[in-house]
């Protein structure tokens, strides 16, 4: 099964990290990605630009309406994602817990809806 691991972080708190903390966090992301790739389970993973760069788009009566900023104005914002292949939810949850951001923010684990099944 495929799972999307959505990383939510408090951007203000992230900005306040020391250089050392930031480097160690990046190193752990790289380690995790490397491990998942060696297990042939990493489908995609990327960090996102901060939420101030977000634009929300909706179509109302055939007209495209845009608003500046993220969908939800919450303290924690979507900051990146991993798309992984996992045997079951337990394995995906373990992957999520291994993401360094889990110790500071929160990881939402969502199973991918398999249209082929």
């Amino acid at each position: 099964m495929q799972y999307m691991l959505l990383i939510y972080e408090d951007e203000a708190a992230e900005a306040g990290l020391s250089e050392e903390e930031r480097e160690s966090s990046i190193a752990r992301h790289i380690d995790l990605a490397r491990r998942l790739r060696s297990e042939n389970r990493l489908l995609a993973a990327d960090p996102l630009q901060p939420a101030v760069t977000a634009t929300c788009v909706r179509v109302e009566n055939g007209r495209v309406v845009m608003t500046d900023g993220p969908y939800a104005e919450t303290k924690e914002q979507l900051a990146g994602f991993y798309l992984v292949e996992a045997a079951d939810l337990d394995q995906a949850l373990a992957d999520a817990a291994a993401i360094p951001s889990a110790a500071r923010g929160v990881i939402e684990v969502r199973p991918i809806l398999d249209l082929q099944a």
Binding site: Y3, D88, L89, D90, L93, P111, L113
Partner: protein, 419 residues
């Protein structure tokens, strides 16, 4: 016993065992439930005519498997049918060898129902529904929820199990097993607690919940013989349950442990609890929280009168418990035990540091009120008991606290006059 009552009892008894085996077979909880329901309907007709078979569980399993495969055939899921028929042949061989023994898959189902990715209320409901064989209506009644709410809760949880990829499996890695086992035992404990002192449901249903919880704890303890905590929990629940006949007086009012008529305690239940305690202790040197609490409960069971209670041992067991579970509630129990052993003043002193964290916890104020009264500090006792009454959500409890409060107010007045 009327024949349909006998059948009911068998269905209740075998429900979890057969369902768990069907879930393993079909890997689909809904299909497993439907096919078992079909098999039960068939059994009701067939057994009243031909009599109850020697192995009712094996009979139900075989029929339900056939019903489920028919169902898949109707849904034109032929690939599933072929692979299941092959599996059924393998199972059939096993059955012939083992005299219709139904393989016990309940543990897998229990770990699935109590998966921490499911909300706690859903874990409880699913466990009662699948392993306990309670109907949705019965569970709704026990938790004072509407049947619709309970139905939705269960349906949502089942859908998450199926679509999020929660497996029917027992974690193999020791660290994960320990963590998940804790979740399973917490659900069982919660079911028992709801039954024993719950704020909801009628008295009759509550007793049912207690018996169900004991049964579930004993199943887990039996299936995980290497683990001390399930046996510890089974022991603890039996020992608490043994005091039920003495817990309320003839007016339905709460009787505190030290005032209970111990001759009313259920000796059979005490022995059952002692049996599990022995097994738990022979399994391991490590002392988990349930095992420690069971040992404390066993000390109470050993004391023929409240005065004969070995409080010194209870205090030292609570100290061990505080070491592994440093929560304010455990600290409160420790403080009460210290008060019983070395005097109310010392107990009250230990409670001081808990006042903030347990400010909204009714038992804290009730205990503080009792101890203050015992120490002759009636004014303090009145304040604490008043707070306890405010916080009480249970009718029986409120009545008891009110009565204590009135008694202490009288003592307080008498004390002021004599001064």
């Amino acid at each position: 016993m009327r024949p349909d009552e006998a059948l009911d009892r068998i269905f209740r008894q075998e429900h979890g065992l057969v369902l768990a085996s069907l879930v393993r077979f079909f890997q689909d909880l809904d299909l497993a439930e439907e096919s078992l329901q079909d098999a039960v309907t068939t059994a009701l007709r067939s057994w009243t005519v031909d009599g109850i078979p020697d192995h009712p569980a094996g009979w139900l399993l075989t029929v339900a498997r056939r019903k489920g495969i028919d169902q898949l055939r109707r849904r034109k899921n032929l690939a599933r049918v072929t692979s299941l028929l092959r599996a059924a042949e393998v199972h059939a061989d096993v059955e012939r060898d083992e005299e219709d023994a139904v393989p016990d898959e309940r543990l897998r189902l229990m770990f699935t129902c109590c998966h921490p990715a499911l909300p706690m209320e859903a874990q409880v409901a699913l466990t009662l529904r699948t392993l306990g064989g309670l109907t949705t209506a019965e569970i709704a009644r026990a938790f004072l929820a509407t049947e619709t709410t309970m139905y939705q809760r269960i349906t949502r949880a089942k859908r998450k199990i199926a679509t999020a990829g929660i497996r029917y499996t027992v974690p193999s890695e020791p660290a994960q097993l320990a963590e998940r086992l804790e979740a399973v035992l917490a659900v069982i404990y919660l079911i028992f607690n709801e039954g024993y002192s719950g704020s909801s449901g009628t008295a009759l249903v509550r007793i049912d919940l207690c018996q169900e919880a004991i049964r579930l704890a004993e199943i887990v303890a039996g299936l995980l013989p290497e683990e001390p905590e399930p046996a510890g929990l089974a022991s603890l629940l039996c020992l608490i349950e043994s005091r039920r006949p003495a817990r309320l007086d003839s007016d339905g009012d709460l009787v505190l442990l030290e005032d209970q008529d111990r001759s009313l305690w259920n000796l059979q239940m005490i022995n059952r609890g002692r049996g599990w305690l022995q097994r738990a202790q022979s399994r391991s040197q490590t002392q988990g929280p349930y095992l420690l609490q069971a040992r404390i409960a066993a000390i109470h069971a050993d004391a023929t009168t409240a005065d004969a209670t070995d409080w010194r041992s209870i205090v030292s067991l609570y100290e061990e418990l505080v070491d592994i579970r440093p929560t304010p509630v455990v600290a409160l129990n420790h403080a009460v035990a210290v008060a019983m052993w070395q005097g109310a003043d010392l107990g009250l002193l230990l409670m001081e540091s808990l006042a903030e964290s347990l400010n909204t916890y009714q038992p804290f104020h009730a205990a503080r009120g009792e101890l203050a009264a015992r120490a002759g500090r009636f004014g303090d006792a009145v304040v604490s008991l008043q707070r306890a009454v405010e916080l009480s959500a249970n009718e029986v409890e409120t009545r008891h606290l009110q009565r204590r409060l009135q008694a202490v107010i009288r003592l307080d007045r008498a004390d002021q006059i004599s001064r």
